[in-house]
């Protein structure tokens, strides 16, 4: 199965609520990245967490990484309608760190 699998596939919440998305991966990594994609647009890098880090914050984003479980989570606090997008985790391929494998993504809908 695929490196970088995410759940849930889709998440619908109300504005002001928190959104949590999870990502699992299979091989050893030196970093894990989260990207956001608005409908019909390119991806935007959100945050990179290194394998020796357990938690990282950026504004309303909080990312955790558990290398023993090969999993990561992205938490968006106090969500806004503008956070509606697809969120992808990505991990470098073992054989070439230039290349990323993207998860299938979580479609987040934040209702006003």
């Amino acid at each position: 199965s695929q490196q970088g699998e995410e759940d849930p596939q889709a998440l619908s919440i109300q504005e002001g609520e928190n959104a949590t998305m999870n990502c699992s991966y299979k091989t050893s990594i030196n970093n894990l990245q989260w990207y956001r994609q608005n409908s019909g647009r390119g991806l935007v890098h959100l945050i990179l967490i290194r394998s020796n880090e357990r938690e990282k914050h950026s504004g309303r984003l909080r990312v955790t990484l558990d290398t023993s479980k090969k999993s990561s989570s992205l938490l968006i606090t106090a969500s806004r309608a503008a956070d509606t997008a697809s969120y992808f985790c990505a991990t470098p391929k073992e054989t070439s760190h230039s290349r990323l494998t993207f998860g299938e993504g979580t479609q987040l809908t934040v209702n006003p």
Binding site: G42, L43, F88, H97, S98
Partner: protein
């Protein structure tokens, strides 16, 4: 200030008619990537250039080719587009093998 630019944003071609998509960057990054993304799916890497070195993914069809004439520009050539090649094509760049910077994408429609 656009950093990764893709042209055109929308491209319509006919079945079997060659098409070229272009990507340019102002970041001076040494790595450039082409991804194919179909609806509600993850981006799928087609190939990438590390400087002038071309790296093809094992499952990228021969129908897809790429050129990188200089650091700033990279092209995706689809020699004989089929209906299954209709997708969003994303160009990205990176330096030091970490964060990738994506262009807005070109949506390809094959009639």
């Amino acid at each position: 200030d656009a950093m990764v630019i893709q042209n055109p944003r929308y491209q319509v071609t006919q079945f079997g008619k060659p098409v070229t998509l272009s990507c340019s960057q102002t970041l001076n990054h040494n790595v450039m990537y082409w991804y194919q993304q179909k609806s509600s799916q993850a981006p799928k890497l087609l190939f990438h250039y590390y400087d002038k070195d071309f790296n093809n993914e094992a499952d990228t069809p021969d129908n897809f080719q790429s050129r990188r004439p200089n650091t700033s520009f990279c092209f995706l050539d689809i020699r004989s587009p089929g209906l299954g090649d209709a997708a969003m094509y994303l160009c990205a760049t990176s330096q030091h093998q970490e964060t990738q910077y994506f262009g807005p994408g070109t949506r390809l429609l094959v009639l």
